[in-house]
Symmetry: C2
Subunit: 139 residues, 2 copies
Amino acid sequence: MASKQNIEEGTEFIPKFDDNGLITAVAQDAETGQILMVAYMNRQALDLTIQTGYATYFSRARQKLWKKGQESGHLQKVEQILVDCDQDCLVLKVTVDAGQCHVGYQSCFYRALNKSSDKKLEFKAEKVYNPKEIYKKQR
Amino acid sequence: MASKQNIEEGTEFIPKFDDNGLITAVAQDAETGQILMVAYMNRQALDLTIQTGYATYFSRARQKLWKKGQESGHLQKVEQILVDCDQDCLVLKVTVDAGQCHVGYQSCFYRALNKSSDKKLEFKAEKVYNPKEIYKKQR
């Protein structure tokens, strides 16, 4: 087993998957810095992402590999993969050419908590595509 | 139970905690866009974060509430809390005045995969403080 020192201060990539075999991955727009989405990878999804240069996740809802954009065409080209101190989380710096959220927004984070009421959300973005047109066959 | 429509397109904040009672939270520097760390919140941590305006997480390793910076003084002032489409992940836009990683870096994501070897990491940042000085009493 790798030491804390090796994990935190070393140059060996030792990704730590959780009890479900998953590691958290944050997709960040390489150009704008916007956080686009947060998803999960199993070992195979991570290997495919590294090998192909395009982000592949593991869908917890569907319990299967999920190449981002396979249905919509809204792929994520991976420019860089960063890993955190304890190697249980990844940041993918990606280049995208279309909205990344299945609801139609550029980012999944299109709403913010209203500061005057912690129960309410405010929309902070406009939709950039119509998901009904993209997903009409599948959903 | 809230409908998919309400969760994804509504203005009600209905954070979804996982089987362990946790929700993923990504801390992003509000000024630079740098992703600083990824951590987890239980309901109480989220409530404290909203009430106090400073990020409080739930430490999975220590199984207790963890006000970020309580030991180090390296607090995260929360400027905005964003929630994703299915409301199971948060982005905290924060203002910080010191390094956020316990290893000594500004961000926990101080290493990237080497493109020519998927087993090796490259350091991408310099330490911004000496953790031995900050944590000498506790660790």
